[in-house]
Symmetry: C2
Subunit: 204 residues, 2 copies
């Protein structure tokens, strides 16, 4: 019997969406349990390390979005063909994670004065440093993040892109033709398109 | 012929040390190229995404410490026996990474007033939430971070522990018997002990 998958996350895309992308890509049925933020305080203690996303696989709780995505990547045939290829995928994944953390460092700042102070270096220094290099990585890898072929790194990146774009208030790929082409390519994968067309509409 | 390994990092432990631990564990010879901070501005542009550690493997540059450690973990026989075990290792690794990022968010804050403001929630809320859970994870896993056996997650965690301890100014394992026992166990592995005894003495 096929394992049962239940994803618990907030009713947003953010860190849950790459998991939903990978499950959808693999045509794996899953329960998409979406929490309202008001429900969270009463649920936090029941989650490993007090966090979501949590993916239950036959009732066993797994946590940490990157760990889950790497596992699902293997399951749906989007891992590397060998350890060296997996290393290239992981290098891309951690680079995308750095990008996410730099943006999150600005966006989740609760002190408004500090947040304003963080915006300029993010927009004027950090993104103009990282994005051309990420664009070039895709160029060097034949239109993908690694190994000149589709991998779970591509689904991960495009899966969190709406969240990143929401935080910076523009499309990060707009001036980068290789990143823009990668986005288009991933969103045109039939199983991804089908998921995107049917998913609940949320802002981020 | 065995591949040639060259690690480029600062003359500190921090994110380079888990890589040095794993290479040492596998009895893999490597060039341990240590940069002084003054050298960095002139070297940054030559590093992928402007970062170190970089591990050159037969001249091919690889970057991102977690990606490198996962690759070396497989190479030295410290990965999981199957995808499920690798998932448990990755869950532990990302949890340790969350711990690192929470501490780094305080320590790398350059605004002194902000830094002071971040210290209390870190010491009074964040660490008292995370550390007992991490301790319990080790307890549930028979004295290791995953799968009741030694994995690269254990070497990674103990490899960055001095760096984390340096930032918080105390030993994170001091009140947590399972974490303290894991530290002792990893540092008693003969190849690790040999490395620790011969490595350059640095504060962090």
């Amino acid at each position: 019997m096929a394992p049962k998958y239940k994803l618990t996350y907030f009713a947003i895309k953010a860190l849950g969406e790459p998991i939903r992308f990978l499950l959808s890509y693999g045509k794996i049925e899953f329960e998409d349990a979406r929490l309202e933020f008001e429900q969270w305080p009463s649920m936090k203690a029941s989650m490993p390390f007090g966090q979501v996303p949590v993916l239950e696989i036959d009732g066993k709780k797994t946590w940490q979005s990157l760990a889950i995505c790497r596992y699902l990547g293997k399951l749906v045939g989007l891992a590397g063909a060998n350890d060296w290829e997996d290393l290239q995928i992981d290098m891309a994944i951690e680079t995308v994670t750095d990008l996410r953390l730099k943006i999150a460092n600005f966006w989740y700042e609760t002190d408004e004065a500090q947040k304003a102070k963080k915006k300029e270096p993010l927009l004027k220094e950090i993104l103009p440093f990282l994005l051309p290099r990420l664009d070039n990585l895709v160029k060097e890898n034949g239109g993908y993040l690694a190994n000149s072929k589709l991998s779970w790194a591509d689904l991960y990146f495009i899966g969190i892109l709406d969240y990143l774009n929401f935080m910076v208030e523009f499309d990060l790929t707009k001036d980068y033709s290789n990143l823009a082409a990668l986005k288009k390519k991933v969103l045109e994968i039939p199983a991804i398109k089908e998921w995107v067309d049917k998913r609940p509409n949320t802002e981020w």
